[in-house]
């Protein structure tokens, strides 16, 4: 079998093709991917590109997200593990640029399409396919390297084979037949309105590339990220998001024989626990915060939705005997090489579980940063602010549509239904879109039911004041009480100013302070200045020409 050899901290690692750097490093026992600003060892939390905890130096380039990058033959990875051994002060652990190889010119490609779809999860696949089938030219953009988004994340690199979901397979085949241009490994970092997007292709692993996407209509299908609730120890390595654990499993992490405690709330807990068992892992416990009565009520309501009842029953069977209700995670502590997770019930009873991993999650948060950059109006939902759309999935900004979890958490079926509506509406099939919208409304109803059964936690988290709130800047929870607004907190404490730009702490702060997160500014993702320059050059030349002034943009391509 083909293997890929690369170097990590002076050791050669050998992995299967398709394995991400994060999965490979975790498999190899690396715990300190990076050092936090106060010197803590950190390792992946979200494993889907949003938390920035998995950053390492690759081939001399610091601050690269190892969860997004595949292992390549001969690559040289440096983690904080080695760097700390040679340097004394924590402030110096960030690798310098000394080893940085000279980079060549950035190549900017320009893509044109009637419809651009951002996000290749269920909503994006359905939207792109439907729009293409309706005759529009379509480009589908995603920062992952394959089709599927998070819930349908590809699993080719998984240690034990994970079968492709039936529904995904059907849509994938239909998508492939439709003939749609794709741009994977592409992070949209800026936009000049909804019809001109700038993408960084660094993740695509193929050199210095950037892209400009020009389109007539945009469909945002950026999905959702996980919501977390800080407890002491949540920054320890091997405390990961529930969705993050699944992403790591699919990206090649070997969890055979590994013990995992699941803590938090939401249907993802059961689904990932079941996947863990299939992968040979051991479920120590599933601690669902919601009381049994509320979840049982959800179960009863499923009687009207047989397909979902079957799914739920299958999950229940695979996780039987391990599920506990009504207790909250209090803290996680490292005990030798294991983790101990302490829980307490509403009545005050405590219990603890010891495991290798603790998977935490408080449900999902709509991913709205691109929409906010474009000025789309949001609406409040139980899971946090979501993009406001009408029956045809139009946002408040002209030429900009949105579908799926970024418009409110409602599950795969609702995302597909909404994607179909958006695809039809964006390609001018309004009558069909209106018909499809009825189905989408029905599916969204189920989402609201889920929301009520597993409500997101509001208010200030009740835990020790020195528990970290902002993991990028190491701001403690105590700061929440000192400042009354998200913006004030950010300016005075740097909370949300770090690499993840508030993707992790933002929803926690907003729920606690009851205000909106601070405004989104470009870039949406950290981008190399040189690459921004290259895309800006394209932008600039267009701008200059429209003003009747050629400028000196020709000189720029070569630098």
């Amino acid at each position: 079998m083909e293997r890929i050899d690369f170097v990590c901290d002076g050791h050669t690692l050998s992995v299967r093709p398709g394995v991400t750097v994060a999965a490979a490093l975790l498999d190899a026992g690396v715990t300190a991917f990076r050092r936090s600003v106060s010197g803590e060892a950190r390792a992946p939390l979200c494993a889907m590109g949003t938390c920035f905890e998995c950053r390492v130096t690759i081939d001399g380039v610091p601050h690269r997200r190892s969860c997004q990058l595949l292992c390549r033959p001969g690559m040289v990875v440096e983690t904080a593990t080695t760097v700390t051994s040679s340097l004394v002060t924590p402030s110096l652990v960030t690798p310098s640029l000394v080893a940085r190889p000279e980079v060549g010119p950035t190549i900017v490609e320009e893509l044109h399409a009637d419809v651009a779809v951002v996000g290749a999860g269920p909503a994006g696949i359905a939207a792109a396919t439907t729009a293409r089938e309706a005759g529009a030219s379509v480009v589908l953009i995603d920062d992952n390297l394959q089709l599927g988004g998070q819930i349908w994340r590809h699993a080719r690199a998984a240690k034990r084979p994970i079968p492709e979901p039936v529904k995904k397979r059907a849509w994938r085949e239909r998508f492939e037949r439709a003939g749609i241009k794709t741009l994977f490994g592409a992070a949209i970092y800026d936009a000049a309105g909804p019809t001109r997007l700038f993408a960084d292709l660094e993740v695509a692993n193929d050199g210095e590339r950037a892209a400009v996407i020009a389109c007539e209509r945009l469909i945002i299908a950026t999905g959702a990220t996980e919501r977390f609730s800080p407890v002491p120890g949540w920054t320890l390595p091997r405390v990961v998001g529930v969705g993050g654990l699944q992403a790591l499993l699919k990206s090649g992490l070997d969890l055979t024989g590994q013990r995992v405690v699941f803590a938090g709330t939401g249907p993802l807990l059961l689904a990932v626990a079941a996947a863990l068992r299939e992968a040979g892992g051991h479920i120590v416990a599933i601690e669902e915060e919601a009381p049994f009565a509320r979840v049982a009520k959800l179960g009863a309501s499923l009687l009207r939705r047989p397909a979902k009842l079957v799914q739920a029953a299958a999950l229940a069977a695979r996780t039987r005997g391990r599920v506990h209700y009504g207790a909250r995670l209090q803290r996680v502590e490292a005990v030798g090489t294991s983790l101990r997770a302490d829980f307490v019930t509403a009545s005050g009873t405590s219990r603890s579980h010891v495991a290798d991993w603790v998977a935490i999650g408080q449900g999902l948060v709509p991913r709205t940063r691109l929409a906010r950059l474009l000025g789309c109006q949001l609406e409040a939902t139980g899971a946090g602010p979501a993009i406001l759309v009408d029956d045809e999935q139009r946002s408040s900004v002209a030429a900009c549509f949105a579908a799926g979890e970024c418009t409110g958490i409602a599950g795969v079926e609702a995302a597909i239904a909404a994607g179909i509506v958006a695809g039809l509406a964006a390609s001018g099939r309004r009558a069909e879109a209106m018909r499809a919208a009825r189905r989408a409304r029905r599916e969204r109803g189920f989402g609201r039911l889920l929301e009520r059964s597993y409500p997101a936690r509001q208010g200030v988290p009740t835990t020790a004041d020195d528990t970290l709130l902002c993991r990028c800047e190491d701001v403690p929870l105590a700061a929440l009480a000192a400042y009354g607004s998200s913006r004030h907190l950010k300016l005075k404490t740097r909370c949300g100013m770090g690499a993840c730009q508030g993707r992790v702490c933002g929803p926690i702060v907003a729920a606690a302070l009851g205000d909106a997160e601070d405004r989104v500014r470009p870039p949406l993702f950290p981008v190399r200045l040189g690459r921004m320059l290259a895309a800006g050059c394209e932008y600039d030349s267009r701008d200059e020409l429209s003003r009747g002034d050629a400028g000196d943009h020709d000189a720029v391509h070569g630098q």
Binding site: S485, M497, P523, P526, V527, R528, G536, D543
Partner: protein
């Protein structure tokens, strides 16, 4: 109703500094702002505390301001909610070519006249001092006592000190100011012996012109402030990338060009290890969005001085507005002669550097104990009116930033 000695309108760094300075003299001070302190223009800039030699008056205001802030930071007590981010970077002014290398010496002499330490670096000394610079740069002028702060934390510290000395801060939106009274949006009226307006670009709009008599009205009409938009870029952490605040010597020329937007190289190593990159100036910008074209020109300019800057990853770009007067000096002092309505606004890009020297000028004015070595006249809002009534000799109204 209880009357205060002083009401300060606006809790940016200038307003908070004034409130603190008055309170230190035992005056009873009320500070009003609808927004949390230091959240607007004070939070948008680079926090570069720098002596500027664009005019004698500017040199004096910045030199005094820098010394006062330095002294304040040396005495600031521990145990603040957030520690002050402070970095003794100095400023390294960089001459791109031989022509500007000559200007380096002239600048050094100007600084020496005011007692400001500055050292000329030749080509090799420049490279030794700052290895990230391009190798073909002619010369530099190192001003070692300039420094960098994170302004919101300074505002917080000043406010903490001011409160300890009895300043009362109220979250009130002020809609109207008069010589002895202030009206809030909610209808509440506050009275004081004098009122300081330190509300940045809103300052002049708060003054009710209908209340003014003829000469007062003429003084008011002579005032003019314009917004100059600026954009900044902040990167990930690269702790060893640069050691000094780096500014191109052509900064002032660039700042006063007549182009709609001008850019100048300005790079700052933050205490966090991040790199903050400026700068741009844009009159009459339509909005506060980030302009890609300007951003692009800023990076191109930076690349000329620091070639490897393009390797850095950008975390965030943002914009803010400086509020500038015609001659680039702030308005500090009574709105007209003898008025108890005082202005402290129009600091353009130098509010952090000159907040405490502004406060000192106002304090000495109100307490009627002028400092002959630091006269208020060049900064008086009435300076334009005065120039008009005499036959003007001050054609040298060069700008300042």
């Amino acid at each position: 109703m209880r009357s205060h000695d002083v009401i300060v309108v606006g809790a940016g760094i200038v307003g908070v500094a004034c409130a603190w300075a008055f309170a230190c003299e035992g005056l009873e001070v009320l500070l009003l702002d609808s927004r949390p302190p230091g959240n607007h223009t004070s939070a948008a800039g680079m926090g570069h505390v720098v002596v500027m030699d664009d005019s004698e008056a500017q040199m004096r205001l910045t030199t005094r301001g820098r010394a006062l802030l330095s002294a304040f930071l040396a005495e600031v007590p521990a145990g603040l909610a957030a520690p002050i981010e402070y970095e003794a970077t100095g400023t390294l002014w960089i001459a791109e070519d031989e022509a500007s290398a000559l200007a380096v010496r002239a600048k050094r002499d100007a600084y020496a006249n005011e007692g400001v330490a500055a050292e000329v670096l030749d080509r090799s000394a420049l490279r030794a001092a700052e290895p990230c610079l391009a190798h073909d740069l002619e010369a530099g002028l190192l001003v070692p006592d300039d420094f960098v702060v994170y302004a919101p934390t300074v505002v917080q510290a000043l406010l903490t000190e001011a409160r300890a000395k009895g300043v009362r801060f109220e979250a009130k939106e002020v809609v109207h100011v008069g010589p002895r009274s202030v009206l809030a949006r909610d209808g509440q009226r506050f009275e004081a012996d004098c009122v300081v307006v330190a509300a940045g670009e809103s300052s002049l709009g708060l003054i009710e012109v209908a209340d003014l008599e003829n000469e007062q009205r003429a003084a008011f009409d002579a005032l003019a402030m314009r917004r100059r938009k600026g954009q900044l870029i902040i990167t990930e952490r690269y702790p060893d990338f640069a050691r000094h605040q780096l500014v191109e010597l052509g900064y002032l020329a660039s700042a006063h060009g007549h182009a709609r937007a001008s850019v100048a190289f300005n790079l700052q190593p933050r205490a966090t290890g991040q790199v903050l990159l400026g700068s741009s100036r844009e009159y009459d910008a339509a909005d506060d969005g980030v302009d890609q074209d300007v951003l692009y020109r800023m990076v191109k300019r930076a690349e000329r001085f620091v070639p490897r800057v393009t390797d850095l990853q950008v975390l965030r770009c943002w914009s803010g507005f400086r509020v500038a007067t015609e001659d680039h000096l702030p308005y500090v002092g009574p709105l007209w002669q003898g008025s108890s309505l005082l202005l402290a606004c129009g600091h353009e890009g130098l509010g952090i550097t000159t907040a405490l020297s502004t406060a000192r000028l106002l304090r000495d004015h109100v307490l009627a104990r002028p400092d002959t070595s630091f006269p208020i006249e060049p900064y008086l809002p009435t300076r334009h009116t005065v120039v008009l009534t005499r036959s003007s000799t001050s054609g040298d109204a060069r700008g300042a930033d």
